[in-house]
């Protein structure tokens, strides 16, 4: 069975997120507007007003309430969606942890924006990075079509009985949130059919007045440790599950993204560049240009940031001569990029090859083709045994 061709519309990343959520028929939508996410809330309200979205749309006074409402709706047995960004994500931090601990399969679009400290209404992945230990599944996507498709896949992943975890679908604010691209919108029946397996699985635990249950109880000592272990085990299972869902999505809709990571021309590559989000599109162009010059370079797009795709990365990088990571955020205390820092943890599985961190694109600094060409050149030089600088803040050295 294959999905029929959907309608192609030129829509922004934010609208794509709203379309993705609407197609999954959430029972409750609660979100508070924040730049650059506001359009998601507007679009969902429009769907609701037009009768396309049969959900309870809750007007909230802040992000903390939004997350508490969607988590509660899920605990009561419903499906729920929310969206936020940056300061909004920070403002819901306790509720974010709570949703993960409750194993409430919330799906949230997080439109990446720089985090507080230095005020910046501009793109950066620092918000995603600063919540990496919240127990959520975190994905980062590259373009508007992938936003829509990933939100549908996120519901399949979150609500899977083996997973039962909230999923954050991250996409670059400004670069993708306001970028209009041609996006194929799946038909309602096809989205329903893709999500249908969720209905066949055993029912999740939910609050029911007829059968009293406690949630978030304290003082259970060994029980606490057991629940943490189960949470970590579910995150481990999520890695392969995402690969499976992505494959199934590809067979049905004809579009797939590689699951945890997307590899581009890595098979015979000698050096590899790793990046995530919208920068991956630019990196692909550079890889093609450098290949034409004879440089055997490949690209790994990191789609899953939490849980970290350790096994897939090790397999993709095994036997390569050098690797460079472009991060659109920083890792405080390590003076490098966060994806780079995590890659270093995988290094024993790969072997001792030069690994280099490139920090670029903070606060809407463009990650340009010349920037990525420089990355490829530096990584290539390192692969040839030349001395190299471990961490480079690209725009500061221009």
């Amino acid at each position: 069975m294959k999905a029929r061709k959907g309608e192609i519309k030129v829509i922004t990343g934010n609208a794509a997120a709203a379309y993705g959520a609407m197609l999954c028929r959430p029972d409750v939508v609660a979100s508070y507007p924040i730049t650059p996410q506001t359009e998601v809330v507007e679009q969902l309200s429009r769907f609701h007003a037009d009768g396309i979205l049969d959900a309870e749309v809750v007007e909230v006074e802040g992000e903390n309430s939004a997350m508490n409402i969607v988590a509660a709706a899920i605990i009561a047995g419903g499906r729920a969606f929310t969206a936020t960004s940056s300061w909004g994500l920070a403002f819901m931090y306790d509720a974010l942890l709570q949703a993960a601990g409750f194993r409430a399969p919330v799906v949230m679009a997080n439109v990446n924006r720089e985090m507080p400290g230095i005020l910046a209404v501009s793109c950066g992945q620092q918000d995603m990075v600063s919540t990496r230990d919240s127990g959520w599944i975190q994905m980062a996507v590259e373009n508007c079509q992938e936003i829509l498709d990933s939100i549908i896949m996120a519901f399949r992943l979150a609500e899977d009985i083996d997973i039962q975890l909230p999923v954050m679908v991250n996409y670059d604010g400004f670069y993708l949130s306001f970028l209009a691209e041609a996006v194929e919108i799946p038909l309602r029946e096809d989205a329903d059919q893709f999500l249908a397996p969720l209905k066949l699985q055993p029912e999740r635990t939910k609050l029911d007045p007829k059968r009293p249950l406690g949630c978030g109880t304290h003082g259970i000592l060994i029980g606490f440790m057991e629940l943490r272990y189960k949470h970590c085990a579910a995150l481990e299972r999520a890695k392969q599950k995402l690969d499976e869902i992505d494959r199934e999505f590809g067979e049905f809709f004809g579009r797939s993204y590689g699951g945890q990571i997307e590899e581009y021309r890595t098979e015979d590559a000698e050096i590899v560049v790793i990046t995530s989000g919208s920068a991956a599109g630019t990196a692909r162009t550079v890889v093609d240009a450098k290949r034409a010059e004879g440089v055997k370079v490949g690209l790994v797009k990191l789609r899953l940031f939490r849980p970290f795709p350790r096994e897939r990365l090790a397999r993709a990088l095994k036997g390569k001569k050098a690797v460079g990571v472009i991060d659109r955020s920083v890792c405080f205390g390590w003076n490098c990029g966060p994806i780079y820092m995590e890659l270093r943890a995988v290094a024993p599985d790969i072997g001792f090859i030069p690994m280099m961190s490139f920090i670029d694109g903070l606060a809407n600094m463009d990650i340009t083709t010349p920037h990525i060409e420089r990355v490829v050149d530096d990584v290539y030089a390192a692969s040839q045994g030349k001395p190299y600088q471990e961490v480079t803040w690209i725009p500061l050295e221009e």
């Binding site: 601990g101 409750f102 249950l213 949630c215 259970i220 029980g223 272990y229």
Partner: protein, 100 residues
């Protein structure tokens, strides 16, 4: 890894109200214990209504606290219109249940 002795069958922090939640030994937190004078009790049920963790057990002609669960907050004693419940320091009990 296999969990040797599973505490809960659930994936999340859900606990069965009868089997798990009330089995927590919150009684050990108590410094004072509610003691009922059955002569004074007229079975009005206000203590059970006010008890925050709802641990008053209905004995059909009076209510008595479940001491495995009662944290000793004293609200039942305060609310009882007939003064039938007295909060007695735990130190006055040599062993569980008996005073002496």
């Amino acid at each position: 890894m296999v969990i040797m002795r599973e505490f809960t069958k659930y994936e999340a922090g859900w606990s069965d109200a009868d089997e798990l939640l009330l089995c927590l030994d919150t009684g050990s937190w108590r410094t004072k214990r509610p003691v009922l004078d059955k002569e004074k009790c007229n079975y009005c049920g206000l203590c059970a209504l006010y008890c925050p963790p709802q641990c008053m057990v209905n004995m059909n002609d009076y209510f008595t606290p479940n001491l495995d669960f009662c944290k000793g907050c004293g609200i039942c004693a305060k609310e009882c219109p007939r003064g039938a419940i007295t909060m007695v320091p735990e130190g006055e009990f040599s062993h569980e249940g008996a005073k002496g």
